[in-house]
Symmetry: C2
Subunit: 240 residues, 2 copies
DNA sequence: CGTCTCTTTGAAGCTAGTCAACTCTCGTGG
DNA sequence: CCACGAGAGTTGACTAGCTTCAAAGAGACG
């Protein structure tokens, strides 16, 4: 763990705007670099943390793609989100000092470890960091409101359209295509997130393809008509 | 606004354990009392804040009952939560400096106003307050995970059972009965929260009553068999 | 090259939604 | 004080949309 543990330098990280506050002095940046002292690699299928594990740190995703999920006692589970580079994961653990969901890597991934106690300490001294932490948590709350709206009031086609648009939008913000994406998750995981069965997800993909809205080949999706997808979300009747 | 604006004193508030950190020195308590300088009354049906309004403060509910809801462009809306005394409301506003949902009083209510800038300032100095704020936000995130699980994977009876149990549990923590409650919201609002239509909510109430699990008379509900309600949530088949 | 997982597609079934009629409660005003 | 009306809730009949069950096809990987 000497040569392998690369010294992380947030100040040079190309994800800085995504996971760090802006407008810091170099002295403040140094202190953050110091806090984020280690990285951790997770293999595809591996867990960053699991429900019940002690909470020690938040994680900023450097590379890779995660899902988080919660489970009922009787074994059903619900994917609560998909996270990509620059996003923060682990906020659920603060309230009870233990994690209440699983975070699983959907492809080989690497995260920056931010020990929570150090983060608290440092955000008392760096106002911008304090505010940033609050914003990250607030953003997660607002995101979940959106998912509740989706699960509570949308039909299958609207849900999938919203899901696809959300994904490409986030990927686009990271420099990827606005119209093409590779799904890192299975139909079942998409279904769990959207409150649908995998067959329904598959059928809906096929219908979108028939309608000429997207092209689907396994996990490769190309969006042909963004506007039509948009309009499906905002109008009751799901475009014929 | 002189005689009416009663000086709020958190240190004497009987909701203290619900909305404030514990183990503060009296000097720290004084500073918090000072931050929470005002209260605000909201009439039944009135809004504490609305989607799009500038965010300035968080609110601790002193008395009364609120719902929060988000809306789509085409007019559908989704109740995202019901809040009661001791709970904190307004966290959604931090990320974009404006609120992204409506907070409506379901009965005459009173809230303590906590200006956010002061809260940030003070939580830099009082570690327990800083941690408390983080916990409140984390708790909200975890709560929403639970709602997503409910909306994404439960059937109507399970949803309503979970809803009722959650309500009485929170009311019980505030000194009310474990088995009796008065609903402050309409069937439609319950339905919106649970992703069901009001008719389905009504039918499910009737079914529970027929099964002898609860007694329902309008908004007055008495739980006759808590254990049976519990078991409905944890087992696939919804008890006959 | 065979096995395993993921995905697609079809057919049948069921849950919750829709539409509609009726009842109940409560507040208001004659 | 009672009648009336509005809003909320209940119930029935019918329907739409998603799930379930089943079987077969497509890649991925040892």
């Amino acid at each position: 763990m000497t040569a392998n543990t690369i010294k992380v330098v947030c100040s040079n990280c190309n994800l800085r705007e995504l996971c760090m506050p802006v407008g810091l002095s170099s002295e403040q940046m140094d202190r953050i670099d110091e806090m984020v002292a280690t990285r951790r690699k997770i293999k595809r299928g591996g867990a960053l943390f699991r429900n019940g594990e002690a909470f020690t740190s938040l994680y900023a995703i450097r590379t890779g793609f995660f899902k988080t999920s919660v489970a009922t006692e009787d074994g059903r589970d619900q994917v609560t989100g998909f996270q990509m580079a620059g996003e923060i994961i682990g906020l659920d653990g603060i309230v009870n000092d233990q994690h209440s969901c699983d975070a699983i890597a959907l492809e080989d991934a690497e995260v920056c470890v931010m020990p929570y106690s150090k983060l608290e300490e440092l955000s008392r001294e760096v106002n911008a960091l304090q505010h940033h932490v609050h914003k990250v948590m607030s953003r997660e709350i607002v995101r979940e409101h959106g998912v509740m709206l989706l699960l509570g009031s949308m039909r299958a086609e609207e849900r999938l359209a919203a899901f696809l648009l959300n994904l490409v939008q986030r990927l686009h913000a990271r420099g990827f295509s606005q119209s093409e994406l590779i799904l890192r998750m299975t139909r079942e995981e998409i279904g769990s997130y959207l409150g649908l069965k995998l067959e329904t997800v598959s059928r809906t993909f096929s219908k979108f393809a028939d309608d000429g809205v997207i092209e689907v080949k396994q996990r490769h999706v190309r969006i042909l008509d963004t506007h039509k997808l948009q309009s499906m979300i905002n109008s009751q009747q799901c475009a014929a």
